[in-house]
Symmetry: C2
Subunit: 402 residues, 2 copies
């Protein structure tokens, strides 16, 4: 098999961990597999480099920042290659310019355009373990770019797609994807399998195991993803298009307690008004999550939406500047909210899921602020202090526990 393995920064933070990861790679190689490894920068390297740059410039050039930050992964891959060579295994490190990992030109948020797989294939043909820098690329000017958040996962999936790998293993500090965060729901169960779309919903809901971009890419190119622990030998969770067993009605519950709600009151009920409002936020790169409009009365509506609490200050500023233009009569903010979401591919054809969620909230005496449903997800906004209880209740209600 051809296997791509991705290890994050904490897995290679020091010499000891590099050597441990090297042993795991060696094991996969000795089982007769071809192995491509994708690495992030060691531990705090990226943060340290950012601090260095900030000493020199308050607002460093993005191009130069990418030039600086990409040295971190190059250090990781060369050290890992040394570790494997020291163990007597053939290994070679490659940076984005050697692989040829072509991206768009957007420094700090580049997107992968195509991967020239010739060099990697040649090294694999020579029986080498190929160690590739995650998170980085080169643009059409031969300049160095970075992929932004979740970049190394995305690199791993993109390489797996380019090489038509049998699977792409993402190593983390947890054993896989759980039905809920085990710190909140003690009897949460590790899932053996999950579909891309479920994983996408969970990833965007604070499961924090895989970044959305990498799951989207895996789904697009049908790359079989495996999320597993770099610390244990446990099997992990397989993420793929169609899962073998009958699809679970509900596969998991996710919580995010960093949510705020904004309500614009008395907005004139005219066509294009909502578009006008959300375009303004979009231009400022504010991510709007759930949107709810009240039914119009007297030609006025209330428009409520949820946002990441980190953007609340920016949102307040935008509202202050535009509220007159929008014609709203007032605004309300609620900063103490949490979002709890239930995800499951089986939900599409089963209308009973929503009512079961409401029943669980009713049993627990939890008030629902806003509800949003999609084909495979139901999200509710509730008081922050109720989040943990709500997650446990729903988890029990759907019998997800171990």
């Amino acid at each position: 098999m051809l296997i791509v393995q991705k290890f994050g920064g904490s897995s290679v933070a020091n010499a000891e961990r590099v050597l441990n990861v090297a042993k795991r790679i060696a094991k996969t190689y000795h089982q007769g597999n071809q192995v491509v490894v994708v690495l992030s920068a060691q531990g705090d390297t990226t943060d340290d480099l950012i601090a260095k740059a900030k000493e020199i410039s308050k607002n460093p050039s993005k191009r130069e920042m990418d030039m600086l930050l990409t040295t971190g992964e190059q250090q990781s891959v060369s050290l890992m290659a040394m570790a494997l060579l020291e163990m007597g295994l053939p290994a070679i490190s490659l940076n984005a310019s050697q692989v040829k990992m072509h991206t768009t030109s957007d420094y700090s948020t580049a997107r992968i355009k195509r991967i020239d797989s010739k060099r990697m294939k040649r090294e694999l043909d020579r029986k080498n373990i190929v160690i590739v820098t995650g998170f980085q690329g080169i643009n059409r000017y031969d300049d160095v770019t970075t992929l932004g958040r979740g970049g190394s996962d995305t690199t791993a999936v993109a390489i797996a797609a380019a090489l038509n790998a049998d699977k792409c293993e993402i190593y983390t500090d947890v054993e896989g994807v759980y039905t809920a965060d085990p710190r909140i729901v003690p009897n949460a169960r590790k899932m053996d399998e999950i579909t891309y779309s479920e994983m996408l919903e969970l990833a965007s809901l604070g499961a924090k195991v895989l970044h959305n971009r990498s799951v989207e890419l895996a789904s697009k190119y049908n790359v079989e993803l495996v999320v597993r622990s770099s610390l244990t030998e446990a099997e992990g969770t397989v993420v793929k298009e169609v899962i073998k067993m009958e699809e679970m009605l509900v596969s998991g519950v996710a919580g995010d307690d960093n949510v705020a709600r904004v309500s614009l009151l008395g907005v004139p009920d005219k066509p294009g008004k909502a578009f006008d409002i959300f375009k303004t936020f979009g231009k400022k790169n504010i991510n709007i999550d759930i949107i709810i409009q009240s039914v119009a009365t007297d030609g006025k509506r209330n428009i409520s939406f949820s946002i990441d609490k980190d953007s609340l200050n920016d949102v307040k500023e935008i509202v202050d500047q535009n509220i007159a233009k929008w014609g709203a009569t007032g605004v309300e903010y609620d900063e103490n909210l949490a979002k709890v979401s239930v995800v499951g591919a089986g939900m599409v054809s089963n209308a009973g899921v929503a009512s079961k969620v409401f029943e669980a909230m009713y049993d627990a005496n939890i008030n629902i602020n806003i509800i949003s449903t999609s084909e495979i997800k139901i999200s509710i906004l509730i008081e922050k202090e109720d989040m943990r209880k709500a997650m446990r209740k729903i988890h029990d209600k759907f019998d997800l526990g171990a």
Copy 2:
């Protein structure tokens, strides 16, 4: 004018120094010059990276070591570009792969083959200050190489040659090239000008201002070198082919107190014997400096040579393994020697220089162990404890002082 400026690792060791160097670069740029800057890795970065590698592998792969070490210069150049951009100046950093600095494939000791100057010229045309990584290159496989000792000086000279620059300024922590080490000879004088060949002799004799490779390259492509201080505004020393003023009989005195002498006794006087002996040392990468053969008596000779004391252990091992084969009857080592050299382009046509050196030693009651002369240099091996006195005596004898 098009000026190449090279700054070493200590000049860019921290944010404050980076900003200081940036000011100096800015000054040159504001005077209407085109500027290309070559930088080494910051301060101890290279040593720290070597230590990291040694934690992982006792004898790290040279290819991977180069991959690791080249991140140091990439960090320097990006930080410097940020500093210049912060000052409102147009600047761009380039690594060896972006410049296209083609080298041989010899990892850790690569030699520059050719420089593709297109990218640098394009950036200069756009009025950019171009900041280039020193010490590194890429080979025919797109793999990263390093140039070994004196690498960044060599990079700077090679770029100056490729761009046909008006001059190449090498910034150091001294004000230029002196007639002798001022710590040993207090009245040593900074030279305004010196020829390439004099500089070459001085560089190889412990003046430690410029590495030989860079001077050789400058001489080959007739690049005007300027050695000057990064701390003061002093003019520095110009190194070029022909100097304006009448050539000095003697330009400088250099000392090296890390010298050992090896004498092979009773070596059979046969053709090819010396070749046989020195080939053995050459294979083991031992650098032999001065060689002296005694006149043969009874078909036997003594062969003495000087070496860097650091290679003495290796030399002893080689002698032990081969002395029987060479047919020598014994060996003597002297570890407490120093080499003092007098360098001057004017010496070629003046037989009196050697006798003046001997006279100075006679005056000082210093015993000469071995003598070696070339067209522009006279070297003597003396007791280590006599080195400083000898240098001062010779410096006075030729009236080199300020």
